[in-house]
Symmetry: C2
Subunit: 670 residues, 2 copies
């Protein structure tokens, strides 16, 4: 880099105007003084490289990283120590229950907005909750219960302002597909419900624990691409499950993969079936979808889309009641148990033989539910310009589910569709969730009898109408354009969920995501560098075709992040091939290029291990035996430290340089 | 980097002598011309960055990498096409059977060396083979068989000149510990032997297949550190197994972990036991170890160490025969079946219910055997200054074992101890292996009856004497000094083998090795950079304490190789914390530092995925909302391409720079 200040070194071939102008200027003025100075400076600089302080030890790095993770909290606590006890208590309480903070500024204007938004999401929530409970193979009232207690708990603990809490489609599917492998809900619904509630408790405990231990990053292990693929696959699987309700099929499969479901649908056509279910369901599906279309075109009519599910339920129930269509083969919801959420402490079953599996399901459900909730919360928070602390959200959702599991609720989380409606309806605070919960509570108390004649096909069409929002084709296309391997992970999640099962799809996608990290980090890539004219930069000659290779010197940059056991041999062999190729390349043009110096730019190397150092040592030996020399340029801190510890630097007589340019400059000296 | 040529930009604070001297010189001569030129050049350079040709697509990279892997062979084949058919045939044959090549230059001088070396290793090989067969729970003759056919096959196919082929301790332990879980060798020795031979066939097929498919890198997946740990653990486990022979214990455990074995030894002391075995074994162990000590001190007496095991066998056998000690409780070898290797085609059992497990064991054994052989071969090849092609070695060892499995041999590979003796005895070619094989063959034919009275304690002490060479404490210490995480993998292999089982130790070590790659690649590290005085370099201010942070600019370098789903959120949050910290840091000193520009040096980033780009976008948004700007410096080729594909570059109005210095230079303009 400081090459241009060292006229003594290698001014053979760099035909740059700037360099020469500068060179002459220097020479004509105070050249002698400068000539020596750079040499001194260069020595000083190689001292800097070689005598850098030791990097923090592994233990120090680890403790630092733990400290950084918890410092946030410690910092906040320490700022409280100067305050009087009541203020400290209030402050801690406000941190745990943000409602204590924002309730003080609450006023009638805000309440009017929240009331409207709360009623709107309640109208969407009631039919969706019943539908999702059916999807989870639970009785309809459990869906309604889950729309009462969780929103109330979240309202006092949560820090988002828009999230609408309650049962969601993907989590319902996940629970039913995993728990029904343990107990068949058709043959023993009580035991199945007990397992679902126990799963909910486990999920809540896991979520709260992740938040308290600040393991929020676990949610990130499901990458954006994987979520896009998984949601798309899950939406199609959920849609396929709705065919049961839409066609009024009595003998359906318990499996979720597309092949089993289509086979079950195909088989059902051989039995006598009643087309009224289908006609009723699909006509209301068309109604809901067209109101949504209108709502999208005219933003002011968005409420039409929001209440159309409720309208469908009311109208279809009235139709069935008036025509007594249930006697002509239309399936109806029948009895929905009304009343307040009963306690479900006695339903939690820790003596089940499946307790390990239940805990595992709880973990998977916890992660998926958190991923959805954090994603929904963050995207709306960033629209309103505030930041959502992932770890705090986890604690809120976790306690929501722990308390939910004690009050007959299954896993609740932030619903994408209802949060969007809440936002569009102009909610101001979480009071809209309280309004929604109270509305659902009133319905549970007084209106469940009215749901007796509601046709199940309507519930199916309400769920179906919510699915297109989960399939994000444009995002998938964007992922394809930007990163093919990311798309592969998304495709694995999508097809895994579709053709195998929800867990296999997720597992496959996570394995692909992490394999990708390994492959990218260790693939044994190298590139030859040349000097960019007019600069002291050395860049890939393929990326910058104007770059010029200096004579007699081969400059190679490692493209991997690690030189380790898994790629060291490969890299060493490839470097030797480059050397052989460079020396023979110009043979055809009859001008053999002789390499005296091989410079290895290791700036990309984040770390090196003992196998990597051994490979460098062998490379050095081989080059020396061929009368060539090896120099290493731009090593990072840890790499310098390790090369020093392994005594490699003394073996290669200190040819370690701050930059490639300095390494090239050393050629004439060596 | 070209900062110093742009006097218009940011000459506020860099108090460098060189800079000012230079600056004045420029100004006094042709400043006007230069002032414009750099600007033009800088524009041209940002064009270079933004308009770089597209990097090779994923498919292209993949096909290139496949092509590179097989090009070696294609190149060789294409050079043959101009030759006549007989020459082509000879050339191909010579490639498959290197003996055709080197046999032409073979002469009597070389033969004399090889004869001496061959007889020396034969004397070591006979007692070792019997001992290792006992370790593998096979009849003694199988060890001798394995020292006949495999060396002959390897002699015509192999390309090493020093390797001594035959049974080795670690592979024998591995086979016995894994196969005896399927069938107990004590209750059904024939079925057990059949499984071992079938395992040998599978191992051979896997080895040959790896070589043919050029999957030689698979061997690298067991890193040097893991091998050191594994060998150390295996040596101790093998040593513990020898306690049975040394103490003459009749009721021993089938398990290999240290706790079970020590328990078995402890229990055996409660039964009456005969100390003569121990006295005999340990006195000859002392004899062998002292000859080795002498051999190490005086290089000329190395043959004493080499033949001391054979001397021990002869002397102890004579002692037992003369004193009839076998009637007083000394355990003896008894009948060893003599004669040539019988065919074992009928012993290969593919109808066993354990066929899948046998294939799995074959795979593990194949890898361990290859790792040992390639490591041994390479280390001696590099001493003699030639290179060993890993893939070719795999094919040779593979065919050696395939043919071995048909002729009553179990898995053979390059033995470290015998190869060292072979090298020290001055072998010239693989003829020493042929001499050894013929010597063993003659012993099998005529001398097996003489082994009847050989005490088993002597075999145990011969194996014990070979173990210290497998425990490499100094190498373990070196690994600890250089790389703590590598040492962790080694320790996992060591303690896994010692306390659990051979497979668990290996599995643990491989999992740790790969987790290490993931952790290093994604750990969310960032470092603040400052300008090194006298240069245009920007370096970590902790590594180079003399570096100066430019005013109003925060320069951060990502230390991870990937900005991806697993660390993007973390990195984004940490950058925001850095910004907040920098702005508050000087608060105590009453001089608030205001950051206008955050420069992200992404030179370490090998790749980025959609989550990473999303994190950058959010970072950009947040900074803009705080009145700050984000600039990205030194992106690599693929990162530029992806940022372009995701349209991020246009969103941040092209603030993408070739170097940090140029990004700092842009501050005054922005």
């Amino acid at each position: 880099m400081l090459q241009m200040l060292c006229p003594s070194t290698s001014h053979e071939s760099y035909q740059s105007l700037v360099y020469f102008t500068f060179h002459e200027t220097i020479l004509s003025s105070e050249s002698e003084e400068l000539k020596q100075q750079p040499d001194l400076e260069k020595n000083a600089r190689s001292e800097w490289v070689l005598n850098a302080p030791e990097p923090p030890s592994l233990w120090r790095q680890f403790s630092d990283s733990v400290a950084k993770t918890i410092s946030h909290r410690r910092h906040k606590l320490s700022s409280l120590t100067h305050q009087s006890p009541p203020i400290v208590l209030l402050s801690v309480l406000q941190r745990i229950f943000p409602i204590l903070h924002w309730a003080r500024n609450y006023n009638l204007t805000k309440f009017r907005c929240d009331l409207l938004a709360g009623l709107t999401i309640a109208s969407l929530c009631i039919p969706q909750s019943i539908g999702y409970a059916t999807l989870a193979h639970l009785d309809p009232q459990y869906g309604l219960y889950t729309s009462v207690v969780p929103p109330l708990i979240y309202a006092v603990m949560g820090s988002s302002r828009e999230i609408a809490i309650g049962p969601v489609a993907v989590v319902s599917l996940l629970i039913s597909s995993m728990v029904q492998k343990l107990i068949d809900p058709a043959s023993d619904p009580l035991a199945y419900t007990k397992l679902v509630l126990t799963t909910t408790l486990f999920a809540g405990i896991f979520q709260a624990a992740f938040g308290i231990c600040r393991l929020g990053f676990l949610v990130d292990f499901l990458s954006h691409a994987v979520i896009v693929g998984f949601m798309g696959g899950a939406a199609i699987v959920i849609g396929l499950q709705q065919l049961k309700g839409l066609f009024g099929i009595s003998h359906f499969t318990n499996k979720t993969d597309i092949i089993s479901v289509l086979q079950a649908v195909y088989n059902s056509f051989h039995h006598p079936w009643n087309p009224r279910n289908f006609i009723l369901g699909s006509s209301f599906l068309i109604f809901i979808l067209s109101t949504r279309f209108v709502g999208k075109r005219k933003k002011k009519l968005f409420w039409l889309a929001a209440i159309s599910p409720l309208i469908s339920v009311i109208v279809s129930t009235v139709i069935v009641f008036v025509t007594r269509a249930d006697k002509h083969g239309v399936n109806i919801v029948k009895h929905v148990k009304g009343g307040l959420n009963p306690s479900s402490i006695h339903m939690l079953d820790f003596n089940t033989p499946y307790i390990a599996e239940v805990a595992k399901i709880g973990l998977v459900v916890a992660l998926i539910a958190l991923t959805e909730s954090v994603a929904v919360g963050r995207s709306f928070a960033s629209m309103k310009g505030y930041h959502l602390d992932g770890n705090k959200e986890m604690v809120s959702i976790g306690f929501t589910n722990i308390i939910g599991s004690l009050t007959s609720c299954y896993v609740a989380t932030g619903s994408f569709s209802r949060t969007a409606v809440n936002f569009a309806a102009g909610c101001e605070t979480l009071v809209s969730n309280i309004v929604m919960a109270i509305t659902v509570l009133i319905s549970l108390q007084f209106l469940t009898k009215l749901l007796y004649y509601t046709p199940t096909a309507i519930l199916a069409s309400i769920i179906l109408s919510a699915l297109p929002g989960l399939i994000n084709v444009s995002e998938a296309h964007k992922i394809w354009k930007v990163d093919k391997l990311d798309f592969l992970a998304a495709a694995a999640a999508f097809f895994g969920v579709l053709f195998a099962s929800v867990e296999i799809g997720l597992l496959l996608a996570v394995v692909i995501s992490f394999s990708k990290i390994i492959v990218i980090s260790i693939r044994p890539g190298t590139e030859t560098l040349g000097k960019l004219p007019g600069t002291e930069m050395f860049c890939d000659v393929r990326q910058y075709p104007m770059a010029v290779k200096p004579p007699g010197v081969l400059i190679l940059r490692l493209k991997s992040a690690l030189l380790c056991f898994a790629n060291a041999t490969f890299v060493r062999e490839r470097i030797m091939k480059w050397v052989a190729q460079e020396e023979s390349e110009d043979d055809k043009g009859n001008s053999t290029r002789t390499i005296h110096l091989v410079i290895l730019d290791v700036s990309n190397l984040v770390n090196i291990d003992t196998s990597g150092i051994a490979a460098l040592e062998e490379l050095h030996k081989t080059l020396v035996s061929q009368g060539k020399q090896l120099a290493i340029a731009s090593p990072t801190w840890e790499v310098i430290h390790k090369l020093k510890a392994a005594k490699f630097i003394s073996k290669m007589s200190g040819r370690l340089f701050l930059t490639v340019a300095e390494a090239v400059g050393c050629k004439s000296e060596c």
